[in-house]
Amino acid sequence: MRSKLRRSILYWLVLLPLVVVILFPFGVMFVTAVRPRAELFVYPPTWGFSEFRWENFSEMWEKTNFGGALLNSVYVSVTATVIALLLSIPAAYAMSRYHFSGKGAYRTFLLMTQMMSPIVLVLGLFRLMMALGLVNNLNSLVLIYAAFNMAFTIWMLQSYFNSIPRDLEEAAWMDGASHFTSLVRIFLPLAVPAIAVTAIFTFINSWNEFVLALTMMRSSADYTLPVQIYAQVAGRYQVEWHHVMAATVLATLPVAIVFSWLQRYLIRGMALGAVK
């Protein structure tokens, strides 16, 4: 017990600098978001401030069209997640349950698409969306996010599906169930947790995406949250930092909490699928 205490103190001392650097931006975010505008640009700069101004949040909401951007982000993320899952679940099921020719090639293709970052293709993607008439249309982002997330979702789902014993379905067939019935009544109920976790990660990925949203959405009414917040900062002479930070807090906090809670599932999924 003594040695565990000593070890704990030593470990925390080693981790301390990193912990401070990690928590620093969160501190900056909160402290700026709640301070009065007049105390933004003081000299010498200081952490202290005179009062908590929670009104910053409501002001920011009105002035920066935060609500509109929030709706855009929700629409894009939800739709992209639904499409990605609708296409990934059967594919992951096929990968997990069937032997078929071309399976190896398909797996390699998935790997390649996972490696292909959208940024290298951004110009081609823009021209594709031009051709489809989808620039300035949130659905362009839906399609791209769904496509680029699919490698990840198929991978995660497949590794979870593999852990659902095949003989449960076989038992259902012996009990007189058709393939379809066994899918609906045996397999899917067991796969629900895996599907939910995968959906949340896909949602967060889409929620946080920046470059493509910046490229495809040319009018401020169509901005998603990351672009909206970036637009408050870029190319402006006077940046309302307290509003920017308030927006950052609102846009980030819910997602960050969910993510911290689910992060262990990601580790598990990776241990099952990616690295193994």
Partner: protein
């Protein structure tokens, strides 16, 4: 159900996703290849085939080489720094100590924040006059005058690399933790019985067994960092005077600021080629890991 139909069931199941992926990911690649060999007018109209002129222009462009070199430095420094910090952090987090759960959550926190948000916050924290980094350092008595962190290219680039390392640590630590937790406990017990010290346990058991995980962490990080735009774009937009441009930011400017579609396509293809090499490397590493793992399993079955 006929046999042919039965065989095509799995193919039908993967088909819809495959079609979407090929359209969204395959088409742009072909379009980029085509555009890169076109003369492009000032208004973004393609006005005819010009062979490899765009590539020639790229390879004659000093800004391209500057960005290429900085991309190398950026990738190398971020991946290297991340790995150097993540390895001890993962080892600590894998051990049992008071508050480990809290420590894990804190270390993983930067992952929960999107890169854009992180960069926006740091841009403000590094503000040359009133940024809270300056506040912290001045209140701690480390500096007398506020520092203009983002005003000169060299300090700006250094700071961006440090932020890059910070945001890469959670992912890397996760992979390494996955590896450490799959480490066979009996190997350590055997080593302790054989009289191995902490360091030689690390040197002769942990490190060799971790090698596949470290390799994958390196390759994946190289690919992510090489492609990462938000940090540099939000903090400095590649400035001042192109001093912090890397390939992705330079490419983005060419395409969407200056409308030089042909040249941007050419750079895209060059980057695509580099990425392809990394990807192939990754696929080879993965399949080699699988090959390593497979015979082990067979032996186990026989016993």
């Amino acid at each position: 159900m006929s046999k042919v139909l039965q065989k095509s069931v799995p193919l039908l199941m993967i088909l819809p996703g495959l079609v979407l992926a090929i359209t969204i990911i395959g088409y742009p690649i072909i379009d980029l290849a085509w555009t890169s060999m076109q003369e492009v007018s000032r208004f973004g109209k393609l006005s005819g085939f010009n062979g490899f002129d765009n590539f020639a222009e790229v390879f004659a462009d000093p800004l391209f080489y500057g960005s290429l070199v900085r991309t190398g430095i950026w990738t190398l420094a971020v991946v290297g720094g991340t790995l150097l910090i993540s390895m001890p952090v993962a080892i600590i987090l894998n051990d049992d100590f008071f508050g480990r759960g809290l420590a894990r959550v804190i270390i993983m926190l930067p992952w929960a924040l999107s890169l854009t948000m992180t960069a926006v916050v740091w841009r403000w924290a590094l503000n040359g006059r009133s940024g809270l980094l300056n506040a912290t350092l001045m209140q701690a008595g480390l500096i007398d005058q506020p520092v203009e962190w983002l005003a000169t290219a060299s300090t700006a680039f250094t700071v961006e690399i440090l932020v890059g390392i910070l945001v890469s640590i959670p992912f890397t630590t996760t992979i390494l933790l996955g590896g450490l937790s799959s480490m066979p406990q009996d190997a350590y017990e055997a080593a302790v019985v054989d009289g191995a010290s902490g360091w030689s346990q690390f040197r002769y058991i942990t490190l060799p067994l971790m090698k596949p995980f470290i390799n994958i962490a390196i390759v994946l990080n190289v690919i992510y960092v090489f492609n990462s735009l938000p940090i540099i774009w939000v903090m400095t937009e590649g400035g001042p005077a192109n001093g912090t441009d890397i390939l992705v930011t330079y490419l983005y400017k060419l395409a969407f600021r200056f409308g030089q579609l042909g040249k941007a396509s050419a750079i895209s293809l060059v980057m695509f080629g580099i990425l392809l090499v990394f990807t192939v490397l990754y696929v080879v590493l993965l399949s080699r890991n699988e090959a390593d793992a497979a015979p082990e399993k067979d032996v186990k079955d026989e016993i």
